[in-house]
Subunit: 139 residues, 2 copies
DNA sequence: TCATATTACTTGCATAATGCAAGTGAGTGT
DNA sequence: ACACTCACTTGCATTATGCAAGTAATATGA
């Protein structure tokens, strides 16, 4: 069936996807945003993975430009910028979930087995649950 | 529920996955292997995306080391090495499919709409169909 | 059989991306 | 006013990628 797939070249959706989040940091930032519910630069920074400050700033900027997250200055403390996922960002959950499940299956990871089992048995509801926690303000 | 998710650090499955295929080329090579059914260095090379020869050699080597593909010298023409996906490699199909669907939905791509519709409506059978074409020799 | 091709790479070097330490400027708390 | 926090920049070292050319092993044709 995928005979027409042979001539995709650089407009191939996979290539486009890789241009947007095919690097070492972008999806880790998104993981912190979606699962750990981080929302500030400082939180992402102290996440434990050890992102360089300039890289973090660059990736946040690009994610905002791509419409995957939004960044809004807090009304309570004007120093703080609060980042949130957009609908486009939340729709990356299936990608992230499949990546996590693959790694948990084939590599030694620190993933809690119960969580993996839940994710694996019912991807749709796991994603729906995660998504639900952002519903009120998902752009 | 993901409260235990907060302390994943570098053993986080997402981070592990990114260390394995979180670069600009690895998944493109896998796409050619899985969808275009390419199997030789020369085919990957002429794929149109324009991989540098040293990068291609490096990625093929790493994919073999990771057990995602195998490389076997052809019995008919000993110059040719034929690469094939392993079960671990075939299990990356869900990841690739979700990435393709996300990009096709949010970005301008050259993806044939009929194919995307098929992929999207029934991911499982699309994956099964693709997988079936490798069944006889999927390590 | 012996020059010519072909396949799968290496190698060397230029350029771009990433990593690290230190610094900046707006905003806050006291 | 002063120290402090937050979200970044900046400059420079290191690493990864990109490009052109070269090489070894095998095959092909006269």
């Amino acid at each position: 069936m995928p005979a027409s797939m042979a001539d995709w070249r650089s407009q191939c959706p996979l290539n486009i996807a890789l241009e947007i989040f095919g690097d070492r940091w972008t999806l880790l930032i998104l993981r912190d945003l979606l699962f750990k519910r981080f929302s500030t630069y400082r939180e992402f920074q102290g996440s434990g993975e050890g992102v360089a400050t300039n890289i973090l700033a660059d990736r946040l900027k690009k994610l905002v430009e791509q419409g995957i997250i939004t960044g809004a200055r807090s009304t309570e403390d004007a120093r703080i910028i609060s980042y949130k996922p957009t609908a486009k960002g939340l729709d990356l959950l299936p990608v992230v979930v499949e990546m996590i499940l693959w790694a948990a299956r084939y590599e030694k990871t620190a993933a809690p087995p119960r969580l993996i089992r839940h994710m694996s048995r019912d991807r749709a509801s796991f994603i729906a649950e995660t998504r639900a926690r952002f519903e009120p303000d998902a752009s």
